[in-house]
Structures are given as C-alpha cells and as structure tokens.
C-alpha cells in the first residue's frame, strides 16, 4: 500500500483531485436548489472528468502502439470543454425561460415533469 503523501506527484494524485472535483460537483447538483448552483455542479463534474482524462493520458500509462501520438486524453478534454460551453449556453437559456415563466429559479418548483 503506497502512501500518496510521500510519493512524488503522479497519476494517482491527479485522479484523487479529479475524484474530489467529481464528488463535489455531484453533491452540489444534488443539494443546490438554485438552478445556477446546479449548473455549476455540472461544470465541476465535467471538469473532474477532464482531470481524469488528462491523468490517464500520462506517458507513464501509454503503451507503444506506434499509432498513438500520446494526446488522446488532452483532445477528448478539449471536446469536453467545448461540450460544456455548449451545454452551459443551452442550460442558461432554459433557466432564463424558466425564470420568465415562474419568476424563480428554484429547481424544486420545476416538478411539472413528474409522472
């Protein structure tokens, strides 16, 4: 069993940061009643995932397949960022519309889709 605190910074540390970010995001999504807070939680989750992608693309984990240029994780992280931006735009638009209709952005008020 290795001790993370005594090890030099490596992939595992990145993964720990990513996990913390991810869990924070999930907790944020599950607890915030403010829609903007929920959106922020989503951003946290996405970025937690991004950190993981970066970590897994570390040269230490790369095989020598010969086809890889060693940037797969970074490229996917870039896609995720673009996706997050797009998602934020759409989600903010939904939030604005919701506010126009209900004069609030409390997600607990938005239960009209219940079965």
């Amino acid at each position: 069993m290795m001790n993370l605190l005594t090890e030099p910074v490596g992939v595992s540390h990145y993964l720990v940061v990513g996990a913390i970010l991810f869990v924070s995001g999930v907790v944020c999504m599950a607890t915030k009643r403010n829609a903007l807070g929920v959106l922020m939680g989503i951003e946290l989750v996405l970025n937690g995932a991004n950190v993981n992608f970066i970590a897994f693309s570390s040269p230490a984990l790369q095989g020598n397949s010969g086809f890889s240029i060693g940037l797969d994780g970074q490229v996917i992280a870039l896609f995720v960022i673009v996706l997050a931006a797009a998602e934020a735009a759409v989600a903010l638009a939904i939030t604005l519309n919701f506010y126009n209709n209900h004069a609030t952005i409390d997600v607990d008020q938005a239960d009209e889709l219940k079965g």
Binding site: A30, D111, G115
Partner: protein, 815 residues
C-alpha cells in the same frame, strides 16, 4: 417458290393478322377516333392484308401445281379407248380382283394429291398417346377456302362500315321497350362489331388452316362463340338474345356428336392429325388419320384401319394377350397376324361408321342441317353483314368444308346418311322459304336449303360438285344477303309485304340482287355460258343422276335435288318481285327509301362480278378442287351394311348424263322462275287465292313445319318441367338443409363468441390491468424533483459499482 416453307407462313400470317386487329380493338377500340370509328379501318386493313397474303399463296400454288384441266376433259369425253391401257397398268401393279372399271378410276387417283402438313408448336403430350399440337394441313382446298373467305370478308367489312354507321353515336333501339314506356337509349357499339368480325375471321381462317381434328374443334367452337356474340349483338332485344342462345345450344348438340366421333378416331387410331407426321429425317413418325384409313399399298381404298379392328375386337385381343404361354412380343405378333381375319369378319366397320357419323353430327349443327336447322333462321336477328358473312358464306359452310375434309373417313353408309340428311334439309327449307315474308328469313331458309344441296352432293359422291357449290354459293349468297341489308338499311323493316317497287329508288341494289338471284337459280344458256350457280348446280344434278342410275332404290334423292332447284327459283324470284317490282305497298316506306352510300354498294358490285364469273374457266375453280380431291375417293364404293353404291364422280361427266342434267337443271329453274313471274311478276294469279285453296298446307309451311313447336313439346317443355321439379327439390330439400346448417353454424358462432369474451378477452384484460397497476405504482418514483433524480443517479451508479465489484471478485477475479 418453296411452297413447303412459305405456304404455312403466308397462310399462318393471314390467320394471325385478324387476331392482332381483334386484340388491338379490344384494348383500344373505344379510343380509336371519335366513338371508335377507326376500329373499322383497323379490322378492314387486317382482313385486306389477309386477303393479299392468301392471294400470294394462291398465285404461288398455281405456279407450282398447275391445275390439270386436261384431266377433267378426258373424263368428260365419251372416248374410253384408254380403258384397256389403264386396266393393264393396274394389273401390272399386281392388283387382281379389280374390275376394269374400278381399275380405270384407280389410275386417276392412285397418286397422292399435293399437300403440305406439319407441326408448328406442340401444346401438350399427355401420357404416350394424347398429343395436342398446333399444326397445319394445306392443300388446294385450304388455299381456295382462304381466298374465298378473305375476299368475301373484305367486301363485307367495307359494307359494314356503311351499314353499322348508326352505331357511331348514341342509338335509340325502337324494338326495346323499357318498363317506363320509353325506348332503350344506349351508346353505340361500332368498334365492338368490328372486334367480333376480326375474331371471327381469325377463327374461321384457323379452322381451315388446322392440321388436326382437335385444333379444328377448338376453332369450330370459336366461330360458334363469334356467331353467338354477333347474333346477340342487339342483346337488349329479347328476340336477339334468345336467338343467340338457341344457336349456341343447338350447336352444342351437334358438337357432342362431334366429340364422340373425335374420341372414336383418337381412341382407336391414337392420333388427331390428318396427315402423317414426319421426323427430322423424313421418316414417318406417326401415321395420320387419312393415311391409316386409306393406305397407299391399298391404292387408297377405304379399309378399316388396324387400330379400329383391334379396338372392336378387344375381347379377342385380350384373350391372346392374356395367354400365359405367349410372351408379349409373340402375342403382339399373333394379334397382328389375326387382324386381317378379324377385319374380314367385319370387326371395326361399325366403329368407322360411328366415327364418321359423329364428325358429321358436328357438321349438322354448324351447317344447320335437319334436324338442327332451326337455329339459322333465328340467327337473322344479328346485323345483316353478319348474316352475310357468318350465317351464309363462311361459318355455316364450315360444316360442309369439314365433311369434304373428312371425306376419306366416311364409309358408303355414312355418305348415304349425309345424302339423306342433305336431301331432307334441302326440301324442308325450300318449302318454308316459299311462304316466309321476312326478307332475311327467306334468305336464311334458302341458305339452309343450299347447304342441304352441298351435303347431298357430298353424300352421293360428288366431292368436287359439293365443294364447288360451297364456293359459288358463298359468293352469291353473301351478295344476296347484302342487298336486302341495303334495303333494310333504307326501309327500316324486314317485312316484304311492306316493300315493292324499290328498284326505282335503289337501282344498284336491285340489279345486283337480280344477278344474285340468277346466280343462285343457276341461270345460263345451256352448254354455252352461265352464272356461277349454273355450273355448280349442274354438277350436283349430274351427280344425282349418276347416283340414281347406280341406286334405283334411292332415286328420291335425285328428285329432291331437281325439285329443290325449281323451288329455289320460285322463292328467290318471289323475293325479288315482292321487293323491287310492282307498285309500292307502303307509300310511307317507299318515299323514305334511298340508295345506300357508295361504301355499301361497291362491295355489292364486286361480289356480283364474282357471283357471275367464279364458275368460269378462267378461275380454274373445278380444276383446283379436282386437284384437292382426297386420294382414293374416285373409286366406286359399295356399302356393306346397307345396299348403296357411291358412284365415281367422273361418271357424271359422261356426255349423256351431263346433257340430261343440264336440261333438267335448266328446266326446273325455268319452271320455278315462270311460276314466280306468274304469281308476283305479272300477277296473273293471286297468291292470296292459292293460299286460301291450300290453307292447311300454307299454315303448315308458315309455321315452319312446326319444328319449333315440336322441339318445344319434345325437348324444351320436358326439360323445363324437369328443371321445375328439380327446383322444387332444391327448395324443399336442399334449401332447408342449407338453412339448418346455417342455423347450426350460427349457434356455433355464438358459442365461440362467448369463449372469446369470457376466456381470451378476460385473460388479455387481466394482464393489461396488472401492467397498469404496476405502472401506477412506479409512477410515485417520478417526482419531477431534479435534485432527487441526481441523487438517484448517484446512488444507482454507486450501487452498480458495488455490484460489479462483487461480481468481479467472485466470478472473474475468482479464477
């Protein structure tokens, strides 16, 4: 010209062109021009092409097989010095037992006539015996018939363009009274008329072209159905639809006999084909009907074929084949050895007679011979061009043609039956024609009577005479029908008692009709020249005279033929005088009468030219027919079952007989003509007084010998009675049974319905209700709370991971 290859193609195309026209008119007829008027041009063009092809075939034939006119003259001349040489030639051939006389005639005919036959397409081979195919049989008779049919049909197509003109627009049928008191108004059926005409031409030509009796039968029925369609062309009229049914049903009676004849031939001879079928190497594969009946070794004399002998002697054959001691080959050899002996004992002769009578039965129906003649006069309900083409010139002559074609198969007994049927028909029809007042019915009975003439001629051995009369009759009778058609077109009535004096109004029609009348009575200057009927009727009377000399017992046939000639002259001129001369009887009709358009009277002129001249030497008609004579029928034939001798036809050309016949024919025709002039021409005798004097006879004739009443009493009423009883059984037995069945089925259905409701439906409903309840209970989970959903997702994911880690550790990581 290579006839063997070109003739089948030429004549086959001539058959098919009208079929193409028929198909085109069926598919596009109504859209051909305004109201389908171009359909007439399509049909007329098709038949003209067929005529052109037939003419080419005829020219080719004449080039290859020049008709031998010296042949007839030789027999005509009184010198018989060459008899001895012929007899010597015959005995040289090893034919002992022939009289010198017979040998003389054998020498005329013991070479086969020119003919071409072959198979176009094998339709079906069923088992080893039954072979159906499309084949052809072409001899001089075929080519002559093709030319005759296409020429007359072309004329009649042109005539019909004018005659059927009314059908181009909406027609008000004044003979159909609707229930509301109005007349029927219907769209014109111009194109449909030409469609049927084309179909008819196709069927008729193919009938003549056919090379086997099965194919003949198919086209025989096809011309029958065309006749049915055309008689019933005005099918809204009760009389027309009844007449169509009558014609069709009466013909079925005859065709039944024909089927029996066909089966007798096929069952014993094993083939339908007329001529021998040759393989690729020229070897005979299947011997045809004609060569089985008249073999070449036997100098084409009629001999009961082996197949028929064995079929009749079935029990003897069975005895031989069934013997244990014999191998099959030995038994077959013994059967072959015994066959001549059985033939001597008379086995098979009956079968041959039955086959001949059966075939003739079909001809009786088609050619309207007694006792099936009743349909033809009623068939006049059809439009007049149809009467001219189908019911006088071609289709009804098909029966005579078939008798001519099957002549080699007929035994002397069958020929005697044919002769008597012909004689009876001739006499009955001629007497009825005397009293008929419907202009077309007079001609219809005249047709029946002339067909009787042909049958009589064929029956007494006058093969060429009968078929010669068939051709000449076709020309003048189609002419004779088209003239009254022109009159009916102008007067809108068929009743001769309302006509009179029409020759001033319609000169073309009147004088072409006069030519037709003169042709049918056989007018001519004796021994110099005459109308076509003069030659053919002379030939028949001469043959009848020869027959009378050979069979004094059957002299009545000769008197019938001679008396029929007088009656013909009388009723034909009665018709002409009543219609065209004297003062008009009905001024209203007279004032409205007018000459027909040119498209109608030009064909009349063309046909009248042929009616005058077709018997003349320039057409070589008798020579051509002489060439077509089946091998072997020139010999004198004696019956075995009845005492009858069918004389050699060439005997009738002898000077004494020919002279006598000419004078008899001339005298009878003249006497009939003079009586007609006396009654109707110069009106010296009042017909009404004569009617009064001979009232019973007159009534009898006006009622057509009561044939219709007789058939109604013998066949129709019992049949109706029977069918009513059967209907009663239907109503009292079968209907209740059906009703009971229906009731049971209904009950069953109610039961089934209950099962459906209580069983199947309930099961389905319970399932549905359960699923609904499940859904409702799961509904609670869907709160719509976003945060709760996120929580669920997280919990679910974590649960999955935990589960996966368990599974992983126990199953995958375990090994």
């Amino acid at each position: 010209m290579d006839l063997a290859n070109t003739l089948p193609v030429l004549l086959g195309l001539a058959c098919l062109v009208p079929l193409v026209s028929f198909v085109l008119i069926v598919l596009f007829g109504a859209r051909m021009g305004k109201h389908g008027e171009y359909a007439a041009y399509v049909a007329t063009g098709a038949i003209l092409i067929a005529f052109a092809l037939s003419s080419v075939a005829m020219v080719g034939w004449m080039g290859e097989h020049k008709p031998d006119s010296a042949h007839a003259e030789h027999a005509d001349g009184a010198d018989h010095t060459s008899d001895t040489t012929h007899a010597a030639a015959a005995s040289h051939a090893g034919e002992a037992g022939h009289t010198a006389d017979a040998a003389h005639h054998v020498s005329h005919s013991d070479h086969a006539k020119p003919e071409y036959s072959g198979e176009i397409y094998p339709l079906a081979v069923i088992g080893t015996q039954l072979k159906l195919s499309i084949s052809y049989y072409i001899d001089t008779l075929t080519v002559v018939m093709f030319c005759m049919v296409t020429l007359i049909a072309s004329c009649i197509h042109f005539y019909a363009i004018g005659y059927m003109h009314d059908e181009l627009h909406e027609v008000t049928d004044h003979e159909v009274h609707l229930r509301n008191g109005h007349h029927l108004v219907r769209p014109g059926r111009f194109h449909r008329f030409f469609q049927y005409l084309s179909l008819f031409c196709f069927s008729m030509l193919s009938l003549v072209y056919a090379g086997n009796i099965a194919m003949v039968f198919v086209f025989w029925e096809l011309v029958g159905i065309c006749s049915y369609f055309l008689i019933g062309f005005y099918f809204e009229r009760h009389s027309a639809s009844n007449a169509a049914n009558k014609a069709f049903i009466t013909n079925r009676v005859g065709d039944f006999g024909m089927l029996i004849g066909m089966m007798a031939l096929w069952g014993s001879l094993g083939t339908f084909t007329f001529a021998d079928t040759k393989g690729a190497d020229g070897q005979v594969v299947q011997v045809g009907i004609f060569s089985q009946v008249r073999t070449e070794e036997n100098h084409f004399e009629l001999v009961v074929p082996d197949g028929m002998v064995r079929a009749a002697a079935a029990s003897q054959v069975g005895e031989l084949v069934g013997k244990r001691s014999l191998t099959p080959e030995a038994a077959a050899a013994q059967v072959a050895a015994e066959t001549p002996g059985w033939r001597e004992q008379g086995f098979g002769y009956w079968l041959l007679c039955i086959a001949g009578l059966g075939i003739f039965c079909g001809c009786v129906g088609k050619s309207a011979q007694f006792p099936l003649h009743v349909w033809l006069p009623d068939a006049m309900e059809g439009p007049t061009p149809v009467s001219a083409l189908v019911h006088s010139a071609t289709m009804v002559a098909a029966g005579v043609y078939l008798v001519g074609r099957f002549y080699p198969v007929f035994t002397p007994e069958v020929l005697l039956v044919i002769a008597y049927i012909g004689g009876i028909t001739l006499f009955i029809a001629a007497t009825i024609a005397i009293t008929a007042v419907d202009i077309k019915r007079v001609l219809a009975y005249s047709t029946v009577s002339q067909l009787g003439y042909m049958m009589l001629a064929l029956g007494i051995g006058g093969w060429v005479a009968g078929l010669f009369h068939l051709i000449t009759h076709a020309f003048f009778k189609s002419l004779l029908f088209m003239c009254p058609g022109s009159v009916i077109h102008a007067c809108h009535t068929n009743d001769m008692t309302k006509m009179g004096g029409l020759r001033h109004k319609m000169p073309w029609t009147a004088y072409t009709m006069l030519i037709g009348c003169l042709a049918i009575i056989g007018a001519g200057i004796p021994f110099v020249i005459g109308f076509s009927g003069y030659y053919s009727k002379d030939a028949i009377i001469a043959q009848a005279l020869t027959f009378k000399n050979a069979n004094p017992d059957h002299a009545v046939l000769f008197y019938t033929a001679a008396g029929g000639a007088a009656l013909t002259a009388f009723y034909m001129f009665r018709l002409w005088f009543m219609t065209f001369s004297g003062p008009p009887r009905d001024h209203h009709i007279y004032d409205h009468a007018h000459e027909s358009p040119r498209v109608m009277y030009i064909p009349l002129v063309i046909l009248s030219v042929f009616a005058v001249s077709v018997g003349w030497g320039i057409f070589h008609l008798t020579d051509l027919l002489e060439q077509a004579r089946p091998a072997g029928i020139l010999t004198k034939a004696t019956g075995t079952l009845l005492t009858v001798t069918i004389p050699n036809e060439h005997d009738s050309h002898e000077h004494a007989i020919h002279t006598a016949a000419t004078w008899i024919a001339f005298g009878t025709a003249l006497s009939g003509l003079l009586v007609a002039v006396l009654f109707y021409g110069i009106r010296k005798v009042d017909p009404a007084e004569v009617q009064q004097t001979f009232r019973p006879i007159y009534r009898f004739l006006v009622n057509k010998w009561h044939f219709d009443e007789l058939y109604r009493a013998i066949f129709i009423h019992p049949l109706l009675f029977l069918s009513r009883r059967v209907a009663d059984i239907d109503r009292s037995v079968i209907d209740p049974f059906i009703n009971r069945c229906a009731w049971g089925v209904r009950k069953l259905a109610v039961l089934d319905d209950a099962i459906d409701r209580l069983g199947v439906d309930a099961a389905v409903n319970v399932t549905a209700r359960g699923i609904r309840a499940l859904g409702n209970s799961l509904r609670v989970v869907q709160t719509g709370q976003l945060r709760q959903y996120v929580t669920f997702i997280v919990i679910g994911t974590v649960a999955l991971f935990v589960l996966a880690s368990f599974v992983w550790s126990y199953s995958w990581a375990g090994n």
